[in-house]
């Protein structure tokens, strides 16, 4: 791995997870406030996360297996907020109904 490749890879990996977290954060706020604009913003953030994943696959010298893992993780990151949200609603449902 070249010197620049090292820093590029590390920063892209950090941004990759940070954007996944931002997507989850904004997605949850959007659902709580029922705000379509925030929901769209969450999709934009996920789009940026996806672009970061593409950049990792295209530009970094990581081995192919790790690149595959990055792509698979992106799919998991997409699903986690809605799944967690549904589970939260289901577990809190009896309380909400009072």
């Amino acid at each position: 791995m070249s010197e620049i490749g090292l820093l590029q890879s590390a920063l892209l990996l950090g941004v990759y997870v940070a954007l996944a977290g931002s997507y989850g954060l904004v997605y949850t706020i959007a659902r709580i406030q029922d705000a379509i604009s925030l929901y769209r913003l969450s999709l934009v953030l996920y789009g940026l996360h996806g672009l970061t994943a593409i950049a990792i696959v295209a530009w970094t010298p990581l081995h192919i297996g790790w690149k595959g893992l990055i792509v698979a993780s992106s799919a998991a990151f997409l699903a986690i907020p809605p799944i967690t949200w549904r589970l939260l609603q289901r577990t809190h449902e009896p309380e909400v109904r009072g």
């Binding site: 820093l7 890879s9 989850g24 709580i32 998991a76 967690t84 577990t91």
Partner: protein
């Protein structure tokens, strides 16, 4: 108030005191990087560093124990079994910590023999305490386990949270036994040492804090037991599922078989996934309660826990966990940056949240709020973020100049250490360390006086 809860107050007071010592020792360690002549011939860097990291372990452990001694009697509806023994052992524990610290400062080091291992320093990072003190820790933890399991046995009441806690106490105790062997083969020694360090921190401690946060949520937001227990099971399963074999990321470069590169990298890459779920959960809880609570500092520290865990463990960890990057990053200030952020987010914020909950009950406050906790919250968190940012820059410089360009030679090490990026990172870290220390002072002052000064903090008695 139960005797266990009085004991909890002692543990939490000791935890906050040791938090202060950790901060001072951390500032000293940071200053050595700016002025290597500091206390030359009097107190070496390694001693300040030992004090910094060992007090960090002990204050968090005492914080966990304090939290559990606080919540458990209410959980069981009675005093804990063996409480007298636990009370005695608190003084033994705290006294032993003081004696060990004095030995570290005054004696500092010994010969490479059994006497030094028993009475001065075991020489293994995080568990430097000499053997006699390490045996003391085992006894304290055994009595702690007896308090919990014995009370559950006598009352016949085992809730989901206490069941998880009891199961967790077994590896918590057993893994600590790894503090004792003195193995001369360094690879073998590190292999087992990581069982203690990693599996305490990324497995058993995660479960402990999960149980503590479950009780905190019930008290702070009135969340039902059914909900917190369901999520405790899910989150503990996910964290353990990724965290246990995530141990492999410590085996990359210690001479362990090469399959650990795949196992460690794979499971470490999974580690941010449950942390994202925790962020969603925290935001859900905050949103459904419209950020309203009777204890704002406890609530904000609870939120800081979820976000700090994600950023420190997830983002910072993922930057350096894949083997190809870790080859250059391990053992640099980059790792230190990750360690600071992850410990703060995953554990320290949670303990501080519990302390505010305890104070609310102790002083019968209907509302806990004010200005000072906000100052301490801001200074501690900004100070911490500033420190980890600066350490990250210095770590990047080391990985780039010393490792990637220089190939880890001695000259490359010197070039990395004298690079302006590294040096300025160290200075910036120290400045933000001072901000963190100011936050600690504000925190202590707030804890001592909250509920006694501001008129908005009406007591339950006054409200009636």
């Amino acid at each position: 108030m139960y005797r266990s809860q009085k004991l909890a107050l002692k543990y939490l007071t000791a935890a906050i005191t040791l938090f202060g010592i950790m901060t001072v020792a951390g500032l000293m360690s940071a200053y050595y990087y700016i002025n290597p002549d500091f206390l030359f011939g009097i107190l070496h860097f390694n001693i300040a560093k030992i004090l910094h990291i060992d007090t960090m372990i002990i204050w968090l452990l005492m914080g966990f124990m304090g939290a559990i001694y606080w919540f458990l009697p209410e959980e069981f509806g009675r005093e804990l079994v063996g409480i007298k023994l636990a009370e005695i052992l608190f003084y033994v524990f705290f006294g032993a910590v003081v004696v060990v610290a004095v030995v570290f400062i005054v004696v500092q080091y010994g010969n490479s023999d059994e006497t030094a291992l028993w009475f001065i320093n075991q020489g293994r990072k995080y568990v430097e305490a000499p053997r006699w003190a390490a045996i003391g820790v085992v006894v304290v933890m055994a009595v702690f386990a007896y308090n919990v399991i014995g009370t559950a046995y006598v009352t016949g009441k085992v809730s989901g949270i206490t069941a998880v806690l009891m199961v967790d106490l077994v590896p918590l105790l057993v893994l600590y036994l790894d503090a004792f062997p003195a193995i001369s083969n360094m690879s073998a020694d590190l292999f087992w040492w990581w069982w203690l360090v990693h599996l305490w921190v990324e497995a058993t401690w995660e479960v402990l804090i999960g149980c503590i946060m479950a009780w905190s949520l019930m008290q702070l937001l009135g969340t039902s037991r059914r909900i917190v227990e369901t999520w405790l099971y899910i989150e503990v399963a996910l964290v353990l599922g990724t965290g246990i074999l995530g141990l492999g990321h410590h085996y990359f470069w210690i001479g362990a078989p090469s399959y650990w590169l795949t196992i460690g990298g794979l499971f470490s890459a999974f580690e941010p996934l449950p942390l994202l779920g925790m962020v969603v959960h925290a935001v859900y809880d905050a949103g459904t309660h419209h950020m309203k609570t009777t204890n704002r500092p406890a609530f904000y520290w609870l939120m800081a826990e979820a976000f700090g865990n994600f950023l420190g463990g997830g983002v910072w960890g993922f930057m350096m966990t894949l083997p190809q990057v870790n080859l250059y990053a391990h053992g640099t200030q980059w790792t230190v940056s990750h360690g600071h952020f992850a410990f703060w987010g995953a554990y320290a914020c949670g303990v501080l949240s519990v302390i505010y909950l305890v104070i609310q009950k102790l002083r019968s406050l209907t509302q806990v709020d004010g200005a000072l906790w906000k100052w301490s919250f801001a200074a501690l968190n900004l100070g911490l973020v500033g420190m980890v940012g600066a350490l990250l820059v210095s770590g990047f410089a080391q990985a780039f100049i010393e490792r990637a360009i220089g190939g880890s030679t001695h000259d490359a090490f010197i070039a990395g250490q004298s690079s302006p990026w590294f040096v300025e990172g160290m200075v910036t870290r120290f400045i933000f360390g001072l901000m963190f220390a100011a936050g600690y002072v504000a925190l202590v002052w707030d804890l001592l006086t909250i509920g006694k000064r501001a008129p908005v903090l009406a007591t339950a008695g006054a409200a009636e």
